[in-house]
Amino acid sequence: MSELIIENLAKHFGDVRAIDGISLTVADGEFLTLLGPSGCGKSTTLFAIAGLDTPTGGVIRVGNQTFFDGDRGILVPPEKRNCGLVFQSYALWPHMTVMDNLAFPLRIRKVGAAERQRRIMSALELVEMDRYAKRYPHELSGGQQQRVALARTLVFEPSLLLLDEPLSNLDAKLRIRARNWLKELQKRLNITTIYVTHDQIEALAMSDRIAVMNKGSVVQLASPQEVYTRPSGAFVADFIGSSNFLRGRMKHRNSDGGAEVILEGGLQIRTIWAPEVQEGSDVLVAVRPEHIRLAAARPAANDTNLLTGRITGRSYLGARYQYALEAGGTSIAAETEDSLDRPEVYATFEPEHAVVVLP
């Protein structure tokens, strides 16, 4: 059906590698997000799938149709790919009404007038915009335009739904609502979807899987939970949420899936084992600020990791405080609801929140 397969996709401009050998398989009906900072190649990849950007090598296949094959010289033009692409700016044609915008792809497919009308109305009902069929795009709000753009894409039943940061132009509250609504709609239609965003919260909330990209490569491809709790490297650990990095050396692996790391100051802590790390090699231990608990008094000794530190700064975030600590020669950020007065504090975190990554 509409399984998307990308093999070794590359886009080079001379020495610059906008996409550097990406391979992905997206299952039928799956919601996959390409997540990364600007310039990581996520939009280039999306446009390469749509046919609006020509890669320099690799293969793109949907079902049994090859869209692009660098070696065999196959390049299907965008109009023959049957991909539905929603642009960041929505790209609604300003000289056409909502109705005419939706009719355009159907006219090209020579759908009869009655059937066209039926399909347009059902697509508009799907996005709850059926009352606005006669309006022009400039008469709609941003959120409404975004829905119409989606309806225009869905009306011709594309084999793939490609979304390029479709929510980034909405205000914060609307974005959260649109996010839930879009996710629910995607599941209902069971349409294979590639979603491009730089917003980690959107990616975590909506995706079946996330492909985290950096500098033209996919650095981690996993479920949202796994990307968050088991980042594959320092880049992912810091880009998704944020992380403190403690420098140390892997001492040995425990039988229970844990490991022991000796930090630079000599303190030994317990962490999760990372299969790619050798015993004895230099590592970073990533700990998220929200996983660090602070206390003024020394907690009772138990299995948690314990650091002693000094508070060097504090900012009020509304619901919580964020503290900057100095612990063992490293600065650490930690978040807590408590207001701490004395500079000396004890910071504790669970071994399962201490992720070992290669520096």
């Binding site: 749509a50 046919g51 609006l52 390049l75 299907v76 033009p77 965008p78 109009e79 023959k80 790919r81 049957n82 991909c83 539905g84 692409l85 642009f87 960041q88 700016s89 790209a91 044609w93 300003p94 000289h95 355009f104 792809p105 090209i108 497919r109 020579k110 759908v111 059937e115 399909r119 059902s122 697509a123 799907l126 225009r152 894409t153 011709f156 039943e157 490609l162």
Partner: protein
Amino acid sequence: MASIPMPTLSGGDDRFSRALIIQSLMSVATVILVAAPLAPILWQSLVDRPLYEAGGLFTMDNYARLFGDAGFYDVIWNSALLALSTTLVAGVLGVAFAIFLERTNLPGRRILRSLALWPMYISQLVIAFSWFMMYGPSGYVTLLSQQWFGSALWNLYSIPGMAVVAGTGLAPLVYLFCASSAKRIDATLEDAGRMMGAGSLRVIWSISIPLMRPAIIYSALLTFISSLEMLSVPLVFGRPVGLEFFTTYLYSQGLGGITPDYGLLGAAAAVLLAIISLLLVLQGLLLRKAGRFVTVKGKAQRQKLADLGPARWPLFAFFLVYNIAILAIPLAGIALRSVTTFLTPLMAPFDLLTTQNFTLIFAYPAYVRSITNSLLISALGGAIATAFVALVTLVVHRSEFRWRRQLEYVALYPRAIPGIVAGIGLFWAMLLLPVVNLLHGTIWILVLAFTMRSIPTAFGAISPALLQIGQELDKSARSCGADWWTTSRMIVLPLLKPAIFGAYVLLFLSFLKEYSSAVFLFSPGSEIIGTTMLSFWANGDTGPVAALSVIQLVITALFVFVARLLLRSHQDV
């Protein structure tokens, strides 16, 4: 959601897609159009006999004869001197207009701004004739000044005199480019100068004008080229006293003798082409580093007008007198001449009133035809040319066509082809190619020549608007299943309508004014207003010339009026 399956898009051979066919056809047509006048000229300049004769042998003799002729050096010297002094006049006036009309609180700026552009709407031929009738050696105003001061204070039969006629006519060009640059100067840059103790005038001189440098360089070279290409002023004011220029040289070499010297004509035309091409290259090189003059950053721009203080009234008076002298008097003069038998300060014009100038024109089919031909060429030819260039612009800016960058160079090259050279070249193309010769005696050869000459103008009018239309609008149409042509036809061209209409207005007016490429191409049946005026002028019949000028001016005024109305009511398109 569907009960009936969605029809799939039929595949097709991508190698010969509709898009590629249209793009290739447009490119080939552009190349042929631009090459049609050039190739015969270059060929003729290098063979030893007229190009229609078989067995031509390669020779450099034509160039040797051209540069062996002492008169040709006079031609080069005169042309350079006239172009330089015209550029100086137009440059000083244009920059002053830009500064005073855009950046100061001069009274009556709005009206003065539109007056400053008027000479652009008027044919250079009409400008030359009307100046001749008023300020020429026996012109009305010249004779008046002789009565009052004893002798004429000016002599238009001289290079400085011609530079004033041509320079005031070309000043709008400089003003147009410098005005948009002057408007974009960020006032904070000027305020910074004022904070450091510079006075208003000092700031204009040391900060504002240097910031306009790219626009000044660009428009100065454009003026220089335009005055090299100009035929009307040299013809009217230079030839009577034996001053020869490039264009009059080509004109007399080509039309003067019974059998023109083809080789010499070809070589002279090729030299003029080479000079102008070099100037365009120079223009590109000078503006390559224009980045340091970028004054536009984002949208928020503060605009402040310099206060001229009490000097504003004398300056206003100057602008008023200027417009009366260069616009009102010549135009009133030519209008008066068209309804009188004679125009002299010695007799009251009301005693000489007549309608015979107009009745003469409307009595002869050939004269009437020159008016209907002009209208047809402007209205229909202008529309065809606009459609053609709009498509070329689409191929250049909005396609995956392999040679689109090269196409842009070809499309912009006609800037380097003077009208008279284009006329000679196409005339020879008619002699050489039977296909082109089919157009002989029809207005279509003129439409072809005018279209070729106007590609850069229309391209320049449409391109900025096209670049402002977001790429994602066509990209989304493509991903909806529309091919390049459907996307262009249903999305891009409809959005481009205002710019296309603007380009049509420009082309209508320039086709109406154009004459220099027509002098070699017209023949009985395909006369236009310009060529008919030139033949009346050659016979010394200034009355019908004035009548035709008035007719052309009235058509221009009506067209501009209607176009403005349409533009205003369709602002939302």
